[in-house]
Every structure is written in structure tokens, then in C-alpha cells.
């Protein structure tokens, strides 16, 4: 990027600076630590200069926003044109309560919806299943049938607003319910925009809400990709997620590498179904974490875009849109502290700023009380306001990729890319993502990182304000959201009445047609749509697939 002669003169200046200035200075003022490292353990130098990025080629490696390799952003004008989507992940209790929360958030300036489902729903159980005991509505909203989905989106203009749904094992069924609920209101599926997470690989790796074994799970995912491409063209049929990998304890490098490895795995699976990469790739989306180490996070996002664009080109993508890595970001839940919860607002601000400087398309900011419970209304409003302050007051949105060209950020971006590449090679050696999961590779890597991080905190090498430094003895006094216990009874009652009311022969027929199709190799989406439209429940529909596909049992590693 620089003239050879100029580089030589900088090299000479740097040598002198080190030997004279720095050496003298250190005699009087030693540094605070022997070495400084990012959360991934990458050693950070005292200073970065053009010498650290001398091998980078501006046009090839950094380039222009909206142009390959998209290091500086996928759009030419980024936030000068359109801001990211303010999208707060939310859900608790019954569909009615969550519908209220959605309306509250929209009224306060949220621009996209994001649904959190409760655990039974994530595992394809209805609220009345024995395994659902104690879990109703706690971690999200319970959706056991099309009826619940209709209530959840009542009076919300789903043809105008996009909805993201964090659902994986039973993603096809929940998506079918969303489509069916919209169609019942006269909204055609072609006009629906949104995302289903539908990323099973990271479930095996980290989040653990899997149902079926890898092979049938991958089939279901490719079914949704194919169906979406043909009939729901504005829908992102997958959100390839590093978020949960990171939350489970991975480093930024591991998050980057494992997520992209998963992404390429889905692309290969869809290609081997015979789908045209340029038809489906534009609907693949991503989801990352934004953790504490500010510059490392920014470098991660920039490296992710470049790696994805290069990898997709290698896999045969021709259209520019197929090379875009579009991603949602959520600030790091695991970085929040139960101690002095108010100060989490500052952590979230820094993390959100990193996401914005990293060029995110959509953002969730965590609430200050989330190390204690699901967020209260006030806490979630402050979180949303945090995004609005960054967007409208800070000025960071006025120019594209303001950190582009920073010696440190460009160096770190390249380092992240190299480190990720090393992981790709190791995964390849293990035979690919699924064999690596079965061998416990990712799980072990993540558990190691989680433990190492915790030990660093214990030894005080990593300072967590309020936890291992500036500790206060305090009464925690913030309002806590409580899920109405009565909701569970009402939900079970609603389910009972639905089962009485619906045409049970229709339900039986649609379920047995699904079973036959699952035993064969047709695309299951049309069959699943028939089931949900007949008001077969989530549990009933999932059970049919459980019967045909079996269930996954994970290797125990700690």
C-alpha cells in the first residue's frame, strides 16, 4: 500500500523510536502489564504503523464499500443511506403478553421485531408436555399452535415490518405458522420479510436446542431454503449464528471461524441438492456477538465480510449479492454482570458501538438487568435508547467505515482472517463440520476457552468492574420482570379448547401425509404448512418428525 522507499524510512524511524524514545520512557514508566492481549489471546503491539499493513493491497483487500471483498461494508453509502434495524429480541409468557411488548417497542422506535420462544417451543413441545414443566414462558413466548401465532402478531403489520424468529429444531414448523397466520389475514407470503434462525449446526456446537440428528436436520434446512427461494423470496431462511457459540465461551476468533465454517457447510448442502448458489445465497444471513474487546470485535466483523465474499466466490457464486454477508448483531449477554447492574448500560453502549463501526445491518442491545432475569419494560427501553443515541447523536454514522485504514484495525482484521483460516484447515482435517461435531471438537475448544477466560477473571488478569475490582456490598434494587404464573394455565386451557374445536380428521390426515413425505425425500414445507393450517400443534407435528428422524444425543464433554 506504500511506496518502498517511504516504508524504509518509516522502518528506520520506528527502530530509532524503539531504541531511544521508548527505551528511555520505559525506564521511568514501566507499562501496566508485560503483554497486552485481545479476548482471543492475540498479542497487541505497543504501536501500529504502515509497516504492519505493508503487505495489504488496498484494492484487493480493503477496497470500497459495496464492492468486493466488502471489507468496508456491503453497501456503498452504509448508514448515510439507511440506519441498521433496531431489533430487540423479546418474548415471554403468553402470546398476548408478548404481543403487548412488541407494540410497546414499536411505539418507542423499534424498527424490526425479533421473537424469543420459550424452551418447550424451541424443542417442539406443546405447553402441556411433561418436559415443559416449569419452563412455560420463562425464556420466551410459548407458541404451540397456529392460534398462538395469530395472537402473537395480532394488529402488527407483518407486510411492512420484518420479523426475526430465533427458532432452530422446529424452524420449518414455526415458519409455516407465521406464513399461515399472515395468509389468513390476506397477506401473501411473497410480501413477507424476516428471518428464521434455522441454524442447527451451532445448536450441536453451542446452544443445544437441537431435536433431530444432523442429517435430517440438514435436509429440513435445505427444504426451507428451497421453499423460500421459490415462494417467500424476501425471507432469510437461515441466520448463521456465531452469537451462541460466543456466549458458550468461544473467543472472537473461534466465533468467526466456526460460524463461517457452518455457513459454507449449508451452502455445500444446498448445492448438493442441486440448487443454484446465486438463487439462494442472497437469502443467507448471519448473526454475531459484540463482546468487550472493542477493536477485536470490529476487526471480526470486517474479517467476516471479507472471508465470506472470498469463500463464496470460490464456491462458484457469480452475482454480487451472493457475496454479501448481511448480519444482525447482539451485544454479549455473557458480559453482563449481576453486580451493580446499572453499569451494564455502559458495557452495552461500547459493544453496540463496535457493532455499528463493524457495519452491522441490524442490532439488539441487551438490557441492564439480564444477568438477573428477562428484561423489564424500562430496562429494554433504555437498551433501545442506547441504539438511538449511537444512531442520531454520536456522528459515527456520518461516514462509511470510519476505522478503515487504521493501522491497528486493518492489521487485526487480517490477523483474524488468518486465525480463522487455520481453524478452517483443522475442521477440514477432521472431515468437515458434522464429523467435527460428532468428535466433540468444537465443544471441547469452546469449553477450554470458557474455562481459560474464567481463570483469567479469577486471577484478576481480566478486570470485570464490579466483579473482581471496584466491588461493592450492595442491595440490588432494580425492578424484575415476573412471568405471570396464571399464563401457563390459560395456555394449557387454550390448547385443550383448540383440540376440541378443530377438525381432528383433517389433523390426522395432514400429519400422516407429512409422515409419508418425511420417509421419502420430497420437500417437506408444503406438508408442514398443511399440518399447521389444520391446527395440528407444534408438538404433534414435531412428534411425527421425531418418529421418522429420531432424536440427537450429544457427547458429554467438559
Amino acid at each position: 500500500m506504500y511506496d518502498r522507499k517511504e516504508l524504509e524510512s518509516i522502518r528506520e524511524r520506528e527502530r530509532r523510536w524503539n531504541q531511544e524514545r521508548v527505551k528511555e520512557w520505559l525506564k521511568k514508566r514501566p507499562e501496566r502489564a508485560e503483554s497486552f492481549r485481545t479476548l482471543s489471546g492475540i498479542e497487541v503491539k505497543r504501536l501500529y504503523t504502515p509497516l504492519d499493513i505493508e503487505d495489504l493491497d488496498y484494492s484487493e483487500d480493503i477496497g470500497f464499500p459495496g464492492e468486493y471483498p466488502f471489507t468496508r461494508g456491503i453497501h456503498a453509502t452504509m448508514y448515510r443511506g439507511r440506519l441498521w434495524t433496531f431489533r430487540q429480541f423479546s418474548g415471554f409468557g403468553t402470546a398476548e403478553e408478548t404481543n403487548e411488548r412488541f407494540k410497546y417497542l414499536l411505539a418507542h422506535g423499534e424498527t424490526g421485531l425479533s421473537v424469543a420462544f420459550d424452551y418447550p417451543t424451541l424443542y417442539g413441545y406443546d405447553t402441556d408436555h411433561p418436559m415443559a414443566k416449569g419452563e412455560f414462558g420463562k425464556c420466551g413466548v410459548a407458541v404451540s399452535s397456529l392460534e398462538d401465532m395469530e395472537i402473537l402478531f395480532k394488529d402488527i403489520p407483518v407486510d411492512k415490518i420484518t420479523t426475526s424468529m430465533t427458532i432452530n429444531g422446529p424452524a420449518a414448523i414455526i415458519w409455516a405458522m407465521y406464513i399461515a397466520a399472515a395468509e389468513k389475514r390476506g397477506i401473501p407470503k411473497e410480501s413477507l420479510g424476516g428471518t428464521i434462525q434455522n441454524d442447527i449446526l451451532k445448536e450441536y456446537i453451542a446452544q443445544k436446542s437441537y431435536i433431530f440428528p444432523p442429517e435430517p436436520s440438514m435436509r429440513l434446512i435445505v427444504d426451507t431454503i428451497e421453499y423460500g427461494m421459490k415462494y417467500v423470496p424476501k425471507w432469510n431462511t437461515i441466520s448463521i449464528s456465531g452469537y451462541h457459540i460466543r456466549e458458550a465461551g468461544a473467543t472472537a476468533v473461534q466465533e468467526l471461524a466456526f460460524t463461517l465454517a457452518d455457513g459454507f457447510e449449508y451452502v455445500k448442502a444446498a448445492i448438493s441438492r442441486g440448487l443454484d448458489i446465486d438463487k439462494f445465497a442472497p437469502r443467507l444471513s448471519f448473526f454475531f456477538n459484540a463482546h468487550n474487546n472493542f477493536f477485536e470485535e470490529i476487526a471480526k466483523f470486517r474479517a467476516a465480510r471479507r472471508l465470506w465474499a472470498r469463500g463464496m466466490k470460490e464456491l462458484g457464486a457469480k452475482k454480487e449479492r451472493s457475496l454479501w454477508m448481511r448480519f444482525h448483531t447482539q451485544t454479549a449477554g455473557c458480559s453482563l454482570t449481576a453486580q451493580q447492574p446499572e453499569i451494564n448500560v455502559i458495557r452495552v453502549t461500547l459493544q453496540a458501538l463496535a457493532a455499528v463501526l463493524g457495519g452491522t445491518q441490524s442490532l439488539h442491545t441487551n438490557s441492564l438487568d439480564e444477568a438477573l432475569a428477562l428484561p423489564s419494560e424500562k430496562a429494554v427501553r433504555i437498551a433501545l435508547r442506547t441504539q438511538q443515541i449511537i444512531a442520531y447523536e454520536s456522528g459515527v454514522t456520518d461516514t462509511v467505515d470510519p476505522l478503515g485504514g487504521s493501522y491497528y484495525v486493518e492489521w487485526l482484521t487480517e490477523r483474524m482472517e488468518e486465525e480463522a483460516q487455520r481453524y478452517f484447515d483443522r475442521i477440514e482435517e477432521l472431515g468437515g463440520v458434522i464429523p467435527a461435531i460428532e468428535k466433540g471438537f468444537f465443544q471441547r475448544e469452546i469449553a477450554e476457552s470458557a474455562y481459560r477466560y474464567q481463570q483469567e477473571v479469577e486471577r484478576g488478569e481480566r478486570v470485570i468492574v464490579g466483579v473482581n475490582r471496584y466491588v461493592m456490598d450492595e442491595e440490588i434494587d432494580i425492578p424484575i420482570l415476573r412471568v405471570d404464573e396464571e399464563g401457563e394455565r390459560r395456555q394449557i386451557e387454550r390448547l385443550r379448547r383448540l383440540k376440541e374445536r378443530r377438525d381432528s380428521s383433517k389433523v390426522r390426515e395432514s400429519l400422516s401425509r407429512l409422515k409419508r413425505a418425511a420417509e421419502g425425500d420430497e420437500n417437506l414445507m408444503p406438508y408442514i404448512l398443511d399440518c399447521v393450517k389444520s391446527y395440528a400443534t407444534l408438538g404433534e407435528t414435531t412428534d411425527v418428525l421425531r418418529e421418522v428422524f429420531g432424536v440427537y444425543k450429544e457427547p458429554i464433554i467438559f
Binding site: G134, C139, A248, T337, A338, A373, A447, A450, I480, V483
Partner: protein
Amino acid sequence: MERKIRVLVAKPGLDGHDRGAKVVARALRDAGMEVIYTGLHQTPEMIVETAIQEDAHVIGLSALSGAHFPLFPEVVRLLKERGVDDILVIGGGIIPPEDIPKLKAAGVDEVFGPGTPLNEIVEYIRRNVKR
């Protein structure tokens, strides 16, 4: 020679957040205890059964989904029902402060929230193990 303390680390309910349980399991093992980790998706019945089978001295329950009620007290109740009164039952996870006294009243011996130093858990177990 002193007998090793046997700890069953368990994940009741459907919650898949196992980072904390695994980190604690590792720390207890590094502290010289014998650790059995149940894996995910355990019912209180399964946990109590395993604890008895494995002759555990301690059950460590982890829940981040908010389902600590009713799952933690249910483990305590089932232990009583089986006539077991010498297993120390501790828990941790995302637990609102106001729930901690309620869990203790229901028979959970101690609750450790986020940010608890690992050696605090180790020391607590060493001091309070019942046999």
C-alpha cells in the same frame, strides 16, 4: 486417606446454557473432587436417581432459563421422598435476588449467582458437605 468428595453437576429442564455448569464442573475437578456431569435435559427424577446411584455427596444444579422454580425445590422434595438427607444441594444460574431466600426456604442449601468466584463454591462445598 481422605475420601474424595463426589459432586453431581446437573442441568434440570430444557435449558441448554451449559457454559456455567461445565466451568464449575472443571473447577471442582481441578480442586480434587470427583465430578459427574449429567448432560442436558434432566428431569428432577433423573437427577435424584443419578445422585443416589452415583453416591454423590453434592448435587449442583444449574438453570439459566428461569425454571429454577419449580425444578430446584422439586429435586429437594424428591430426595426427601427417597429418604435421603445427607446430600448437599446447591444451585446457580440467572436467578433474581429475591428468589434466593425462597429457594433456601424450600431446602436448597446455597445459591450462587453470576460472578461468584469459583473457589467460593469449592470452599463452600468443603465446609458444608454432609458426610
